[in-house]
Symmetry: C2
Subunit: 125 residues, 2 copies
């Protein structure tokens, strides 16, 4: 099982890769058979090929993840973080308040990512 | 399925009940067959009697929950919130940074609560 520190470092790397539009960097953090559910309650995206397609749509040069407060660990193989995601669309900035839960496999790669946000968590600034 | 607003209101009520040491108020938010996993990765506490016992130990007149940023919803029956929990112990204040995920049943009661925090998320102030 990966250490709490490994999990927190990997989750921070995820943010850092995202914010430099490093699609390959993001994908390298994921396990081959990972599952992404973003938003929570939507149909999960399964497997690295489908996850790559998912991220191609959101890693677009204008979307940024801003972490709020420290990344949390667990007493097992998971971590959690509160973030807001900012995207520029036609002169406006859309902000989505999100909490992301990630579980990790024994190789230290992301096995699942679930992003909690609802329609009420979006605002335009 | 409960609305996003119901979920967020119930999660705020949970904090409010906790901070006035209202054990009955907390328990009224839970379903009879709810499951609490606090911290994530520990043995889950199952059913309202066991959950009551769990909260009797933490609702103690000196432990307070401070919410960070807005409560998040989902596209289904869950919500998420980042908090820190402060407890006074022998003159010191112990702070634990936590992210809590709650799922709700069709009656709008908490079906599960999972609290993400690791040993590295505790500090003494």
């Amino acid at each position: 099982m990966p250490t709490e520190q490994h999990i927190k470092t990997a989750m921070q790397s995820y943010i850092d890769c995202f914010n430099r539009d490093d699609l390959e960097g993001i994908l390298s953090l994921y396990a081959e058979d990972a599952v992404v559910e973003d938003p929570a309650g939507s149909e999960p995206v399964r497997g690295k090929a489908a996850i790559a397609e998912f991220y191609r749509n959101v890693v677009n040069g204008t979307t940024r993840i801003c972490r709020e407060e420290p990344i949390r660990g667990s007493h097992a193989n998971s971590g959690a973080m509160a973030v807001h995601i900012e995207t520029k669309v036609e002169g406006a900035t859309i902000v989505i308040h999100v909490i992301e839960i990630m579980s990790f496999n024994d190789d230290g790669r992301i096995a699942s990512m679930t992003a909690y946000w609802g329609k009420g968590d979006m605002e335009t600034r």
